[in-house]
């Protein structure tokens, strides 16, 4: 019994640094911001009043917040399928035994390890009027906006989404590649003996085996996409005409720029609930899919 208690205490002692960090820098701010979302707290202000659900009610009547939610939803829906499919395609390609595969793997991964701010600055130049991408589109006879991609209200958000897909693909490709490497070769050999085509092997062996990693990728990517901020902060500051205003940028602007921390906290919690809902739905869908497959 004493030995058991001793072991538990040792385990607890080793976990303590992480628990302290978690409580101080994650749990406490999380709970404190929940409390703030029910107050009229303004940064630098000495008085704070409890106002119940007023911030939440005001949020759903605020056209700017609804616009930010709409843009965020477009960003999420418009990037995740492309990122996932392209990453899977790239993983299948670089998984083949072709000369120079290592170079391709590293090459595709480079954007993911480069600073997002640096990438955003580079793309701001590429997207500007007279930038390489605009010139390339002109050369290919594709239509380009009059003012550069990031200054047109119809192309600014898609331009940021395209950049994001390009940056994220490499990282998710690597995860898919790890998943592909873990599929036993014997399963493909057995399928070949049974006369299965390449498509059958992909559809019946590769895809089902990749389901856990795909769930992880979609989940992580959903959370990350809902929280899109740096790209918007560096490239457009939410403009033009709020066409790239996203939910996290709205939180940042209301909280740190306009000092309205209570209102910003409420917006952050609405976003948190939406992300949680999406995550739960995704996990349920994949779980159902897995049990059906089994």
């Amino acid at each position: 019994m004493n030995r058991m208690t001793g072991r538990k205490s040792v385990t607890f002692a080793f976990l303590l640094p992480w628990l302290i960090t978690l409580s101080l820098f994650w749990l406490y701010p999380l709970l404190h911001s929940l409390y703030l979302s029910f107050t009229d707290y303004e940064l630098l202000s000495s008085t704070t009043e409890f106002i119940g659900l007023q911030n939440y009610i005001r949020l759903f009547g605020d056209p700017t917040f609804l616009e930010a939610l709409k843009n965020t939803a477009i960003f999420v829906i418009g990037t995740i399928p492309f990122t996932t499919v392209i990453a899977l395609g790239l993983a299948l390609l670089v998984n083949r035994k072709i000369p120079g595969a290592q170079i391709f793997r590293s090459g595709y991964f480079v954007p993911s390890i480069t600073s997002l701010v640096v990438m955003a600055l580079i793309f701001t130049n590429l997207y500007s009027k007279g930038g390489y991408l605009t010139m390339l589109c002109d050369f290919a006879g594709l239509p380009t906006p009059d003012r550069g991609f990031l200054l047109s209200e119809t192309t600014a958000l898609p331009a940021i989404m395209a950049m994001d897909i390009w940056i994220a693909c490499g990282y998710y490709m690597l995860l898919f590649l790890a998943g592909l490497k873990s599929i036993p070769e014997e399963q493909y050999e057995a399928a070949e003996l049974d006369g299965a085509s390449s498509w059958d092997k992909f559809w019946r062996i590769t895809l089902p085996q990749l389901r856990p990693i795909a769930l992880y990728i979609i989940l992580i990517n959903t959370i990350k996409s809902f929280q899109v901020f740096v790209e918007v902060f560096v490239m457009t500051k939410g403009g033009p005409l709020n066409s790239t205003l996203t939910a996290v940028y709205f939180v940042y602007d209301r909280g740190l720029h306009k000092f309205n921390m209570g209102y910003a906290s409420a917006a952050a919690y609405v976003l948190f609930l939406i992300i949680m809902l999406f995550a739960l739905v995704q996990m349920r869908v994949f779980k159902v899919g897995r049990s059906t497959a089994e």
């Binding site: 001793g6 002692a13 003012r147 550069g148 200054l151 403009g239 005409l241 720029h257």
Partner: protein, 421 residues
Amino acid sequence: MTVKPFGILLRAMKRLIAILLLCSLLLLSCGENADNDKIQLSFWQFWTSPDVKPTIEGFVTEYEELHPDTEIELIDLTWSDGHEKIVVAFSTDAAPDIVELGSDWIVEFADKGVLMDVSEFHAAHVDELMMWEPAQLDGAVYAIPWLLGTRVMYCNLDLMHRADIDSDRPPGTWKELLSWSGRISELGAPYYGFGSNSAERHRLYKKFLPFLWSNGGRIVSEDGTTCRLDQVEAIDALRYYVELSDVGLMETQRTLDDKFLAGEIGFILSGDWLLRRIATTPPDFDLKTALIPVPNDGDTSVSFFGGEYLAISNNSPNRDAALQFAEYLVSRKPNYSFCTAAGSPTPANVEAARMMAEKTDSNALTFLNQIRTARTSPAHPKWVHIEEALERAVEQAIYHQVSPVEALLEATNSINEILAE
């Protein structure tokens, strides 16, 4: 052998705690020595470029030599997140003793009571320093002008000649600017008559305001209770700005500056940062700076001015020492040397500005002439909200989402609601 992991761990933790305690005591004793001897001042500032930072460091060294009882810690901020850092510092009681503030930030901080009232300093130095307006709230003064900046018009004279504009002088009136811009734009891509700021947050409104003010318009009434953007002067100014944008190139400030230096734009409104770039890499065409054009001959050209101000934290334990350091920084010699290093022709110190006027060239002199009649945004605690409404109106109009009248009426309603809060 019996393993007693808990005992081993306890012993290890005891040793670790002892070492940590010893280290803390050592550190504390070092800190106490330093604290006892000197007044510690922290100064947060934005001048990080290698051209200017050594000058600021030189001021600190010189000041420390003159005041051996004072030690100044210089902390760098960046424009991308400096405002947030200052906000967080003030809200967590971790503010520096002295902080450099942008002119349009002062009132929002002053309104929250975190800045020291320097009205007495103002009364004693009112004639020595220019442009106190952005630092004033409800009759008190909360910051000290340090370095000023305004916007003037830059003209590419070569492009004017290529477009057969028969004049050796830059456009002086709205009519000339619009017509000459149109003629340069007719040269075809990549040439444009006017460089118009696009939907850039915190920048666009600064480019519209000179047209509003020069046309006799106002954002809010003199008593600060009513929005005046629904008046005919404001509507005409926005109509004109939209026309000007339509014949020009709409881009970000950085791209406009680049394209002007590449000789592709006839006229742009820009600040003294462009003078610095011109001095470093002179372009291969004739250029001239000029006052921002006015509606009619004889009208006064009113540009936007902003600047860097020095503020002292209300909670600083060394407010007097901080004020003394600020006084040194805005005095004639350091102010002149600082503006020379920063490439700014507009120091806040009147004597320094006079010295600058004697030594500067005609292009830089335009800034000193323009700032004489320049104005700044209204000193209102809710300015960020007013700015957002104004900027949205200009944005909607130049993107032809709504007419200038509709845009300004919507902005007027929003701003009146903000003023009524």
